[in-house]
Amino acid sequence: MQSYLYFPGCSLRTVAKDFDRSAKACAHALGFELKEMQGQLCCGAVLSNVDDNLITKAGPNRILARATQEDHTLVTLCAGCYNVLKRTDLHAKLASPSQQTINTFNEETFNGGVDVIHFLEILRDRIGFDAVERAVKVPFKGLHVGAYYGCLLLRPAGEMKFDDPNRPSILENLLTRLGCTPIDYPARTDCCGSYLSVSSPGNVQPISGAIIRSARSCGARLLTVSCPLCKYNLESSQLQDSSGSTPDDFLPIVYFTQLLGLALGLQPEELELDQRQMQAVREATTPMLIGGGKK
């Protein structure tokens, strides 16, 4: 069985265990394995991308230095880890004086050379969407799902080279193969508010709320994401008050690996899909009227 070296990151250990577990289950169903690397650390999230503070880059450089001991391809799931690690590798390849400073500080030399890829890239480039489609056992029938990309998978486009930053299609292409009917809505590449949810949560609600409204008005009954932070922001913007109770028209958010798993015939429990999410999946699959969604 083909095995890929895998870096889950902090979120997938804590708030996004469902993402981690569903991805591993999907991998198994598709005939490959995600093997966790040794010596994991926090990637530093988006803070590692700042240019003027080298200490934030110590973590991701250590991760990649350690990964090279095992393999030269490293798979990520969290869009944040993907962005940070891929750009850390690009920066290291430049062999700049600051890279030397980082290496000296880390006492673990890293000069680039890890091919950091996203799980979606395995599906698209290594297995191929055709093979994924062949492996589908329970195709969705017109599931009206909106793919939400956010920023970190796509930008900066010149460095990420993942998909068109303005009109990406990789998630829609995958969802179509699963039998879904992806919804095109303008806000799918807007920023979710990122870590402002920690420093100034009041500013996140309008941003995330606009994304939800845009998706819903275009007919999405469900959103799928590849980033735990996006999921958190999109969900919490819909909560009515601090009690955490959900409104009637709550738009559920699932990871793409959970939809992939269902289509591959895996059980909701293996994918950690809760009852509300499963209900949303079922409802969104039924044919609906134009302008749909619950009011």
């Binding site: 010149g158 303005n166 009109r167 303008p186 008005s217």
Partner: protein, 651 residues
């Protein structure tokens, strides 16, 4: 034994400020064969040139070395003064001690040492130089103009009016180019067709111009003064001389295709005339979209023409190859538009109401798809809120075009003004980066548009355009107020950049003319030789060389025509004799050199020995490096001279 004189120039302080001139003169004076060495503040000045002339006579010199600036600057000046003083001009060598010594070395000691070496090399070379005579070649006194837009039209007319024969090659069915598609022109708002039309007619009627439409250059051989060009002309299937443009054929034609003249906003038939003022004024059959010519599938056009028209359609016509001989070639291949669909943030191609400026231009035109009314492509309604996005895909080195297309600020101001003129209750917004309105009356024009028509200019870029509830939502930033802006627009117009004609790459390789990094034809020198390609005998005009507007294009076209006329003004022309030369007794006739020559100058003669065409050779030296028996040498740059020069360096 030659008597060599050395002249060292101060170039004010350009050289003297960093090179010890006295030392250079002293050392030069001690070299073998040098009988005289002197310095002067400005050798290129009249007193400086007189010094050279007098010294040559006084000291009976038969070779000189001038240590001064780059030969690109004054080689011709000094060679001419040497010639006027009775020397053979090829016994004058330039030692570049400015660009290669004083300007590039910080340390005066090192700069002086380098200057000395450079002068010494020049002395060693000139000692072994032979007197040479320029090569004289005849000139074919005809000109080929490639591209029938306003640049090609102007250039062809100027050459033809100068009394010489012109072949004007145009790939489409009519001349007129992009300018024929424009509605008005800035800053005077002349109707474009009204000012272009008379020139097109003049081309058509001019006895000295042979117009070849539907034609492409297939092969170019030869050299300055003597090009041999093959042009392939596709059949129009309509006899130009007989057709009276009655249009019966098009009425009968059942095949409808998008009309490229209107960028697909309207339809045309497979047999059509591109526009009312097309020249030649004859219909043309577009064989690609015809229902079938081989075998004939329909033939309705011919039936209609035979019945109602002038029986001018021949569906069995074949392409023709014209073999032309010309002395000069003017390249005026023009521009195309950058593919707006690549700019995915604006949604061109996804949202029907996002259009390019050229499509908007057609809509403004009285002969356009809406006969001059402004309407949304999606529903035909008159747009009330319109957003113009300047620099769309331009000045974006990372993702699109790195350069500025120079004309968009001007035509966008005109577009916005025309919109307000035609839709007075409407509002026009213009997103811009800078307003580049350099040109006579340009700044005034933009100001007038802005002030009189109340246009809203927003300095900033647009991040995203999307559709919501029948409106186009334009999200951008106004960097002057520092705020993000959202405009709910009815129509969005993208000022996409100019890119060179898609066929210029292929044409450039046929012409052996170089292109720049963006695919535009390169000029020989950006300031001093802007109308010429580095390849001799090829001149440039219009937007194929760089983005430019109509006044500049016309000026460049007349300039290029003037250059071509200058070339044709003499029946012969002189070429540098510092070219390759075969020492017959050494050549074994192996012919290794023949295919390597980039100028087709080498061939095997009747005795199966290599022969250099003096007219074709550019003196590049490729053949010399390839010759296994050392039979090829470059005149005045022989191996012996090279060795002597190297010894001067390593001494």
């Amino acid at each position: 034994m030659k008597r060599v004189g050395v002249f060292v120039c101060h170039c004010g302080l350009n050289i003297a400020g960093n090179v010890n001139i006295k030392e250079v003169v002293e050392k030069a004076g001690k070299q073998q064969d040098v009988v005289f060495a002197v310095d002067h503040k400005y050798l290129c000045s009249e007193p400086g040139q007189t010094l050279i002339k007098d010294s040559i006579r006084q000291h009976n010199l038969d070779a000189i070395v001038v240590a001064a600036c780059s030969p690109a600057m004054h080689e011709a000046t000094f060679k001419t003064i040497a010639q006027l003083s009775g020397l053979n001009r090829y016994n004058c060598e330039i030692a570049n001690i400015r660009e290669q010594s004083s300007w590039v070395h910080d340390d005066p000691g090192k700069a002086t040492a380098k200057a000395h070496i450079t002068v010494h090399q020049g002395i060693e070379k000139v000692r072994l130089n032979e007197p040479l005579q320029p090569v004289t070649v005849p000139v074919t006194r005809k000109v080929l103009v490639i591209g029938g837009g306003i640049a090609g039209i102007r250039a062809a007319l100027d050459v033809a009016n100068g009394g010489y024969q012109v072949y004007l090659v145009e790939k489409s069915g009519t001349i007129g180019g992009r300018m024929a598609q424009l509605s008005e022109t800035f800053p005077t708002l002349d109707c474009s067709t009204c000012i272009l039309g008379p020139l097109m007619v003049e081309v058509f009627r001019h006895p000295n111009i042979k117009l070849l439409r539907l034609s492409k250059v297939e092969e170019v051989k030869g050299y300055i003064g003597n090009f041999k060009v093959k042009v392939r002309q596709e059949p129009a299937y309509v006899d130009e001389a007989k057709c009276n443009a009655c249009g019966e054929c098009a009425k009968a034609c059942p095949a409808q295709v998008p009309n490229e003249f209107d960028f697909g906003l309207t339809w045309r038939k497979a047999i059509y005339t591109p526009f009312a003022q097309a020249v030649p004024p004859a219909y043309v059959l577009d064989a690609k979209n015809c229902l079938g010519l081989l075998p004939q599938a329909c033939g309705e056009c011919k039936k209609a023409c035979d019945k109602f028209g002038t029986s001018c359609i021949d569906l069995d016509a074949w392409p023709r190859i014209h073999e032309l001989e010309v002395g000069a070639i003017i390249v005026s291949t023009g521009y195309e538009l950058y593919d707006a669909a690549k700019l995915t943030e604006y949604g061109y191609g996804t949202f029907p109401d996002v259009m390019t400026s050229m499509e908007f231009e057609r809509m403004l035109s009285a002969s356009g798809p809406t006969t001059g009314e402004i309407k949304r492509p999606s529903d035909g309604q008159t747009p009330k809120e319109i957003v113009f996005i300047q620099c769309a895909g331009q000045r974006e080195p990372e993702t699109a075009l790195p350069y500025c297309s120079k004309i968009c600020c001007m035509y966008t101001a005109r577009h916005a003004m025309m919109f307000r003129h035609k839709v007075p209750e409407g509002q026009a917004y213009v997103f811009y980066m800078d307003i580049r309105a350099g040109g006579k009356g340009y700044e005034e024009f933009v100001k007038r548009c802005q002030e009189e028509k109340g246009l809203l200019y927003l300095r900033g870029r647009v991040a995203k355009v999307y559709e919501e509830n029948g409106k186009l939502i334009v999200k951008g930033v106004d960097t002057l107020s520092g705020k993000t802006v959202q405009i709910n627009a009815d129509l969005v117009v993208l000022a996409v950049g100019m890119v060179p004609s898609s066929e210029s790459h292929e044409l450039a390789s046929k012409l052996k003319a170089s292109l720049d990094a963006n695919g535009f034809f390169s000029e020989a020198h950006p300031k001093l030789r802007p109308l010429e390609s580095p390849t001799a005998g090829i001149f440039l005009a219009g937007a194929g060389q760089s983005p430019k507007d109509i006044p500049e294009t016309v000026a460049q076209a007349s300039g290029a025509a003037g250059k071509a006329l200058g070339l044709l003004s003499s029946p012969t022309l002189e070429r540098e004799p510092t070219i390759a030369h075969v020492v017959g007794e050494l050549c074994s006739g192996c012919s290794i050199c023949v295919p390597l020559c980039p100028y087709d100058a080498l061939s095997l003669n009747a005795e199966k020995l290599a022969e250099v065409s003096e007219a074709l050779c550019e003196g590049c030296g490729t053949c010399i490096a390839s010759c296994p028996s050392g039979a090829l040498t470059l005149r005045n740059l022989t191996d012996e001279q090279m060795v002597a020069m190297i010894e001067a360096i390593v001494e």
